[in-house]
């Protein structure tokens, strides 16, 4: 355990992590963007219309991947937050904090695209039912984490306090997931895992789902690097880099 921790501390030193992340970014960004364009063109142009919902169902190709991301990012953020709280690794703290704005954006997208889908199909933009309310609470939790991180002066104390809030907010995740089973809700139940979708419609959905994961990975590395520059701005490695790296 100790040797592993020492290895993590060396490899995970801010400077090393910054360089590693910089090298990894294009490996996530390029396939991510290519898959995203592929999946969206597939979904909008080549997938057939739905027998009941016509072309309105095409919103599913961004709504469902966004919803998955809103939960997936929270779980990832919780793992980073737990590591940050237990072992006080700086890179883990910053990773957790970098997750929050990305998760908030995907949660907002889930709510907005769902609302734009609900109006023509259900007949309402919004309904205070279990699925939608718990997803809205998720957005507030993300915003609260970001707010708490900004509110405390000491950057490391701020990250630890916000990490604690991350773990507390974790209780909302199973509630969102099971809300369609626990309560009678307007929202539909599980589609993809129950194989209730035609393959010609399932493929674009899965492609966009993989693409959003890669875009999240790209963005997480970008944002963690940015936080490293901010919090280590007085360290020599950042200063050397600022001098040599001319704005392109």
């Amino acid at each position: 355990m100790n040797r592993l921790m020492r290895w993590i501390h060396i490899k995970g030193s801010p400077e090393n992590y910054y360089r590693l992340a910089g090298r990894l970014i294009p490996w996530f960004a390029i396939p991510g963007l290519l898959l995203l364009v592929t999946g969206i063109v597939y979904g909008l142009v080549f997938a057939p219309p739905d027998y009941q919902q016509g072309d309105a169902y095409r919103i599913i190709f961004i709504h469902v991947p966004s919803a998955w991301m809103s939960l997936f990012i929270y779980l990832g953020m919780s793992v980073a937050a737990a590591i940050a709280l237990i072992w006080r690794i700086k890179v883990a703290e910053l990773t957790a904090m970098a997750c929050a704005p990305i998760g908030a954006v995907f949660t907002a997208l889930t709510l907005l695209t769902g609302s734009l889908w609900g109006k023509p199909m259900w007949g309402t933009y919004w309904e205070w039912d279990a699925r939608m309310t718990s997803e809205l609470i998720l957005l507030f939790i993300y915003l609260a984490i970001m707010g708490l991180y900004q509110a405390i002066e000491d950057r490391r104390k701020a990250a630890r306090a916000a990490s604690l809030l991350v773990l507390v907010g974790l209780v909302n995740i199973p509630i969102i997931h099971y809300s369609v089973q626990w309560w009678s809700t307007l929202h539909q139940g599980v589609t993809v895992l129950d194989r209730k979708m035609d393959p010609s419609m399932l493929w674009p959905l899965l492609i966009v789902a993989v693409a959003t994961k890669l875009i999240f990975a790209t963005n997480l590395l970008q944002r963690t690097r940015l936080l490293l520059i901010s919090t280590e701005s007085r360290k020599r490695w950042v200063r050397e880099m600022a001098k040599t790296e001319t704005p392109s």
């Binding site: 309105a56 023509p120 940015l226 520059i229 701005s233 007085r234 600022a242």
Partner: protein, 75 residues
């Protein structure tokens, strides 16, 4: 399929295109903002270095001015 038919989305064009539009804007915003912010942060760091060097020169013109003797880690 004609272009106008495609844009109409079987009468659901408004909802479909707003959804995809918001999605595209959000993804671009996520990916581009950190690039811009990074440039700003590094510029701030450069300004900070320049400021410190200026102070150092003023404080001790006779001594080893402009050198990197003061470790940035010390503060």
């Amino acid at each position: 399929m004609s272009l106008s038919e495609f844009l109409n989305m079987g009468g659901y064009g408004f909802f479909v295109w707003w959804s995809y539009g918001l999605f595209a804007i959000a993804i671009l915003w996520l990916l581009l903002l950190p690039r811009i912010q990074k440039r700003f942060r590094l510029k701030e760091v450069r300004q900070q270095i320049a400021l410190e060097q200026l102070r150092e020169q003023r404080a001790g013109k006779s001594s080893i001015s402009g050198s990197q003797s003061s470790s940035p880690e010390s503060d």
